[in-house]
Amino acid sequence: MSYDPIDITLIGAKIALVFFVILTLAAYLVFAERKVLAWIQDRKGPNRVGPFGLLQPLADLIKLLTKEDFRPIGADKWLFYLAPAMAAIPAIMIFAVIPFGAPLTVFGHSVELQISDLNVGLLLFLALSSIAVYGVALGGWASNSKYALLGSIRGLAQLISYELSMGLSLVPVVMLARSFRLSDIVAAQSGCWFIVYQPLAFIIFLISIAAECKRIPFDLPEAEGELVAGFHTEYSGMRFGLFFVGEYINIIVLGGLAATFFLGGWHGPWLPPVIWFSGKVLAFAFLFIWMRGTLPRLRYDQLMHFGWKILTPLALVNILVTGWWLVLRG
């Protein structure tokens, strides 16, 4: 690893760019979600702030920032304040290992469009997504509220259960690419996307990340109809905003990972790689919004049943079959 000042500057610039893009994207994803849901329901959606309501995210931000920040009586002060950060930061950190474009050449330097090309990138993703569980767990527990606690208990069980199938569904990908390095995985798909070899793993992964993002139909930790707002019931203002934005960053990041693992990352004909990557991410984001507009929430027992008795065995069988296939092929 070189410590060329230009390299350091470039890394700084990449981090800044990624931060800016992801936060903006997350904010506009909220807006897009409201719009798409409105269209699905034959409404117009937010259209008052700015042209076509485009400044709505800004207005939301101002509103969240100016709201009263309060803590319930009996809440654990530090954990209560820590939890929103624990929810948002791991989500955004995962993006460090995602390659979002083909390497560029700037001032004679070859620049990877990836912040850190770790050789265990996939494992880092799994580790960080496990840490994100703490945001839910601590937020719910520290609130000293029964709704929040119920939400966080559900969230814990759900996230741990679906992490399993998510991890298992990625094993065939690693077996095919023979690397944990995400750039290698992308490179391995330059010819054919892994979704072609591994449609089942893709579907399991897709379902698992929907559950990881706590999106409908897996939004039991929040479950408005039953738990007010689940684990973040007691949060207000920007602390609630962090949970909120963390959820949408999660969508972007997991969408990016899904694209990286199964849809060839930034690979694609004719268009520039960055556009291909963004397009795939946004397609996943749209899919999530679309699902939210369509599907009802699962029951808790259905959720557990589905995760443990269907997805996990299927993922194991898929690993086995992939292994045989690889051995037979030599």
Partner: protein
């Protein structure tokens, strides 16, 4: 196979929502576009008068009893000729849910609902309507109805001269 029918169900749902994305929204942009309410729309409550111009409200308290949110209060009093009327009559529109049960309960058709739904105000005290705010100079619906003509007591006409009434009995008469 159950899984295929389930998949079909999911896909059908996704397809229906997909189609709706491209439908024309039904939203009416309120301050710029306004809906013309139907004549029987249930909004701002008024107190009407009978065809002779007298107050229809007899302050019988049935509306306040029917009101599920207790937003109506009044004080009955005795007026000229034994007419029962409301000394004061108050509707707290900040509390009213416009369910129309009061209008339904009203035996004299005094309390009626109008299509005027734009009564928002910044000061909640402005939503407390007293009798002078509620009473209108008209009959509203059922323009020809006068409760006292049918009630069987003498207020608008001498005793025994109302609709469906016989002249008063002469109790000291000897006729069978």
């Amino acid at each position: 196979m159950k899984i295929f029918s389930d998949m079909t169900a999911l896909m059908t749902g996704m397809w229906i929502t997909w189609k709706h994305i491209f439908r024309r929204p039904v939203t009416i942009q309120y301050p710029e576009q306004r809906r013309q309410p139907y004549p029987r729309y249930r909004a701002r409550i008024v107190l009407t008068r009978d065809p002779e111009g007298g107050e229809r409200c007899v302050a019988c308290q049935l509306c306040s009893a029917a009101c599920p949110v207790d937003c109506i209060s009044m004080q009955p009093a005795e007026g000229d000729g034994g007419r029962r009327y409301a000394e004061w009559f108050r509707i707290n529109f900040a509390r009213c849910i416009f369910c129309g049960l009061c209008a339904e309960a009203c035996p004299t058709l005094a309390i009626q609902m109008t299509p005027d739904y734009e009564i928002c105000t910044r000061d909640i005290m402005n939503l407390i309507y007293e009798k002078e705010d509620l009473l209108i100079d008209g009959c509203g619906k059922s323009a020809d109805y006068n409760f006292y003509r049918h009630a069987g007591i003498a207020v608008t006409q001498p005793r025994g001269n109302g609709a469906e009434e016989l002249p008063p009995v002469d109790v000291r008469g000897l006729m069978p």
